[in-house]
């Protein structure tokens, strides 16, 4: 049996990679994807704990379903925003979006 540690480690690694992507990638689309990656890492954890946790039960999976739902919604809205931005500014490079400064 693969121990819980292994799954969690995979999750942690994916999470870190996703985080790096969020912080460093310039394309808005890839940033969105990196967020998905982080969410996936979390899903792995949820399901792993649902099986091997202190109080393992099905709720972990239910939670994952909700996460996926939210992720899907987020992707849809995020993409829509990116398209809107692209239409207005001609770019979706995150580094060009600095209107917060003004």
């Amino acid at each position: 049996m693969v121990p819980l540690n292994a799954y969690l480690a995979v999750g942690a690694i994916m999470f870190s990679i996703g985080m790096f992507g969020v912080l460093n990638k310039k394309s808005g689309i890839i940033v969105l994807l990196s967020i998905e990656l982080m969410l996936n890492a979390v899903n792995i954890n949820l399901i792993a704990f649902s099986r091997f946790g202190f109080y393992g039960n099905i709720t972990g999976q239910i939670f994952t379903i909700f996460t996926i739902t939210v992720a899907a919604a987020e992707t849809a809205v995020g993409l829509a925003i990116l398209i809107a931005i692209f239409r207005n500014k001609g770019t979706i490079s995150i580094t060009d979006l600095n209107i917060m400064k003004r």
């Binding site: 985080m19 969020v22 912080l23 460093n24 940033v31 995150i94 580094t95 979006l97 600095n98 209107i99 917060m100 400064k101 003004r102």
Partner: protein, 613 residues
């Protein structure tokens, strides 16, 4: 009657409040409010004096709690001793005269009611000062009379000279008050009370160290120096002549400036207990007497001559007190009040007529102003010590006291001062009233409400001295002050008569005979005297200028050193802010990164122990 003594200051207070509230509506009717209230006070004061004159009369004292701090209680109240009763009488009488006189003198002034308001305030404070049974209350009203005097000096507020005179008067007397404040505070913690009686008792029983008594007595005397215009704090009094002349008569001649003398007399047991303090009082008084008289010799402003004369006469009183001549000092205080008030009122009458204060622009006024001339002559004779008039008796008594106390130098100084007094008074008389007119004003005698008070006062200036023969000395000392009747050698009396006549004769020789006025710049000693020994200039260079310069240095310090430090810290925070704002570059990812780094730091710092351990 004695238990109702509080009524005496109450009437002027009521008048003050009424005039503050309704003065503007009353216009010149304000005078009646003032006069009626003062008349009531005078009647009560007279009643008190007569009751206190009775041989079996006791001192009356009553106290009320005013303020309780910790285990100490401060009281207010009133006390009637012979000295108080006498002062009440003098103050109410002179004040009443001045109130009546002012109705004519101030007629037509647009701030007429304000003048009476201030007068009422002054009279109230002065009367309350007189009946104070303790040092604290005395100090309170001591300050209040100072403030009233300040207001009245600055009555002609639009004149810059009046403004600076008022300022000077307040500040210089305040310096003296500081001494008084320190003195009574020290005394309070030493004997635990402000009551005169308590203080004297403690002193008598030897509960207070002799050195300490000297210290406090001198500090209290500093207060008196400030108020009574003694050297070196005399400079304000001549300047105070910027005020209306009735004010000069009331405050700067008869009553307030005498408060210093009164205070020393009131705390006489304290001074008596310290030989050093007595010597200081006598020396300062004696020096001031001759010093101020010498300045008075050459001044050209009629009021200033009188002012220096006042300073000199107050010096006389101090000299008397310092020479253990309690009776002499108080006696002279009493007589001086009348003739000096009289002289000022006549001066006011003259100024009223010719609209100038420079005696070189007067002359020959005697023809039109017969009454004024006559009463001025009485006043001048009285102050010069002409035999039979009030000043003669009191001055004689002072000279005797000084002689008895053994201060030979002071005695001769006093005698020379007496000659000078006679000289400058008659210099005034000759220059103002005799000879040919050197002015072109249409001169006429003052109205009745001005002349009547002058006449009343001139009568007192003639007869006030005779109370010496009715047991004055015995009566005034029965409040426990040990001061014996002075019996000096007869030649002192003759000497003082010679001094008076000598002065008058000299004045006649120089001014009365040919009635010429010297023109041209004063030279030599004359110049020194004319410029009042350059005391004002000295103070200006030694005190005022360095203080101002120091102020500007400090301003510079405040602006550049303290301000510079502030700027430095501002610059520092700005620098930090700049670093911070460079992070705020609007890049979402940069914000995210900072957040993550923060999280990392937090995690590391929180788990460092576990990670390493």
């Amino acid at each position: 009657m004695l238990e109702n003594a509080w009524l005496v200051p109450l009437f002027p207070l009521i008048s003050f409040v009424l005039l503050v509230a309704f003065g503007r509506q009353l216009k010149e009717g304000a005078a009646y409010v003032g006069i009626v209230s003062l008349l009531s006070s005078f009647i009560v004061a007279l009643g008190i004096l007569f009751e206190r004159l009775g041989h079996d009369a006791e001192n009356y004292i009553q106290n009320f709690n005013w303020l309780t701090i910790g285990d100490k209680t401060l009281t207010v109240g009133f006390e009637i001793t012979p000295l108080n009763a006498l002062m009440l009488f003098v103050v109410t009488l002179v004040s009443l005269m001045v109130h009546i006189y002012s109705k004519g003198y101030m007629h037509g002034d647009e701030r007429f009611p304000v003048f009476y308001t201030y007068l009422s305030l002054f009279t109230f404070s002065m009367l309350s000062l007189v009946i104070s049974p303790n040092l604290l209350q005395a100090f309170i009203f001591w300050e209040l009379v100072g403030a009233a005097s300040f207001l009245l000096i600055g009555f002609y507020y639009f004149k810059p000279s009046a403004r600076s005179a008022a300022k000077k008067a307040f500040i210089v007397t305040r310096i003296g008050d500081l001494g008084l404040l320190i003195g009574i505070s020290l005394l309070f913690w030493q004997v635990g009370t402000f009551e005169y009686a308590g203080v004297f008792e403690a002193v008598e029983q030897g509960l207070v160290e002799p050195g300490f008594i000297t210290l406090t007595a001198i500090l209290i005397f500093i207060g008196a120096i400030g108020k009574s215009g003694q050297f070196p704090l005399h400079t304000w009094l001549p300047d105070a002549m910027e005020g209306p002349t009735p004010v000069s008569a009331l405050i700067h001649a008869a009553t307030m400036v005498a408060a210093g003398v009164y205070l020393v007399a009131r705390t006489f047991p304290l001074f008596e207990a310290s030989e050093t303090a007595m010597y200081v009082v006598a020396t300062v008084g004696g020096f001031t007497a001759i010093f101020a008289a010498s300045i008075g010799l050459v001044q050209n402003d009629i009021k200033r001559v009188l002012a220096y004369s006042t300073v000199s006469q107050l010096g006389y009183m101090m000299l008397a007190l310092g020479s253990a001549g309690f009776i002499a000092g108080v006696f002279h205080l009493f007589t001086h009040a009348f003739f000096k008030a009289l002289l000022f009122l006549t001066a006011g009458s003259v100024i009223h007529a010719v609209h100038t204060q420079n005696i070189k622009e007067m002359g020959g006024l005697g023809k039109e102003m017969k009454i004024t001339r006559a009463v001025f002559l009485i006043g001048a004779l009285a102050i010069s010590g002409f035999p039979g008039l009030a000043g003669f008796f009191s001055k004689d008594l002072i000279l005797m006291s000084v002689y008895e106390s053994g201060h030979v130098t002071l005695f001769w100084m006093a005698l020379i001062a007496a000659v000078m007094t006679a000289f400058y008074m008659f210099r005034l008389y000759f220059l103002v009233f005799s000879g040919k007119p050197r002015h072109n004003a249409n001169v006429h005698e003052s109205p009745k409400n001005m002349t009547i008070p002058m006449i009343i006062l001139s009568l007192l200036a003639i007869f006030a001295g005779y109370i010496e023969f009715f047991g004055f000395g015995e009566w005034i000392t029965n409040n426990g002050v040990i001061a014996e009747e002075v019996e000096g050698p007869k030649w002192i009396m003759y000497l003082s008569i010679i001094a008076a006549f000598g002065g008058i004769a000299l004045a006649w020789l120089m001014y009365g005979r040919d009635n010429k006025v010297k023109t041209g710049e004063p030279r030599g000693l004359h110049k020194l005297l004319f410029n009042k020994y350059y005391i004002d200039e000295l103070y200006s260079t030694v005190v005022v200028r360095p203080y101002t310069i120091f102020g500007y240095v400090l301003k510079f310090f405040d602006k550049y050193v303290i301000g510079g430090l502030v700027q430095l810290s501002v610059w520092f925070s700005k620098a930090i802010g700049k670093i911070g704002s460079r992070l705020q570059n609007g890049q979402v990812q940069a914000y995210g990164l900072i957040t993550i780094i923060g999280l990392v730091l937090l995690l590391v710092s929180l788990t460092a122990g576990r990670l390493l351990g």
